[in-house]
Symmetry: C2
Subunit: 207 residues, 2 copies
């Protein structure tokens, strides 16, 4: 692995563990056992590292977001799609730890965050509207707006909430927990014939 | 107003505006036009100020949390109860800005945060279970568990989510938005006869 890649990977691990605000460039250099000068040669400051990681996250998410052919999606493939997005957010979880501070501190990523957030919202809304059209869901556009917004809230904030409740966050349990929240959110709107075995299938996805 | 009170009030305003991590004791002293020594005479460091504010929030929330006589509550009084809790959290909103960092940095408030969070969850669950018993809601205990958890998630994370989406956060709109989320969450479980005019009544609460 090249030094630049190693630096990004180590930064990601440290940011996820301690929060971006609590990790300085010198900590990253120490962890890698390289000199701060060598680190600086590759990345001119923490903002550049944070931006590079954010770009990686954005690209990864964008690939998942555009992938679904909404027309051919069913409920379980929608949950699988959510699972992929959740997993991606888990890998870059420092981004959702204190979004307000990150956006205030790094104007470079502030616009990207808003764009990503609105793309996610739109992707969720598109699929749910199509489900309503196909008779998989029974919900008005107004309700679908609220549902897509709440899925996005769960998506971006479940981790902070977990810190508040003090629940141990194990990666796989965590994703199961988030998927079940979305399940409970959508459940009353799902028409009976589409509901068969859904919960079991979701739990199988997360394991 | 006494100096100690002025210090707390100014700290709260600055923490809410800029985030607790971005405000130092010297900023608070500057804003109040007092010497750092005078500030230190009243509060021996930022942790003491943060703890004092957290205690104020905890006491205020506890008063609201114990107040409801669950037995005599109806849907609209439940939403009014939520409104009071939301308003209280708005006043001390810096607490929910980056809970993970706050809990890591200040062990003093870490336990208090978890306790408060679990009291809120339990209060929501108790009322919802009673509603189910009275036939106001039609939901299993498992669903009620998920609903109480999601109300708590909305409660504690809607602000961070607002920062991500970049929505301008005006205090009264904000509370209306949160109450409508809870409305959409509970709506499919509310029995028809309990649903009349509920949304209009909720909007009247928030205005």
């Amino acid at each position: 692995m090249k030094t630049a890649e190693k630096i990004l990977l180590t930064s990601l691990t440290l940011f996820n563990q301690h929060g971006e605000a609590n990790v300085a460039c010198v900590d990253i250099a120490l962890e890698l056992d390289i000199s701060p000068g060598n680190l600086y040669y590759h990345f001119k400051g923490k903002e550049i590292i944070v931006s590079a990681l954010f770009d990686m996250y954005k690209q990864r998410s964008a690939r998942i977001l555009v992938s679904p052919n909404a027309e051919s999606m069913n409920l379980i493939s929608f949950f699988d799609y959510l699972r992929q997005l959740f997993e991606s957010a888990q890998i870059f979880r420092f981004i959702y730890r204190n979004p307000s501070d990150l956006v205030d501190k790094y104007p470079l990523i502030s616009r990207g965050m808003k764009q990503l957030n609105s793309s996610k919202y739109k992707a969720f809304e598109t699929v749910l509207l199509l489900f309503a059209k196909q008779g998989i869901l029974r919900a008005t556009p107004e309700t679908i707006h609220a549902l897509a917004d709440m899925i996005n809230l769960i998506f971006s904030q479940a981790q902070n909430y977990g810190e508040l409740t003090g629940e141990a966050i194990d990666d796989s349990e965590y994703i199961e927990h988030m998927l079940l929240w979305v399940y409970h959110l959508l459940c009353p709107y799902i028409t009976d014939k589409s509901k068969t075995n859904l919960k079991t299938d979701i739990l199988a996805l997360a394991s």
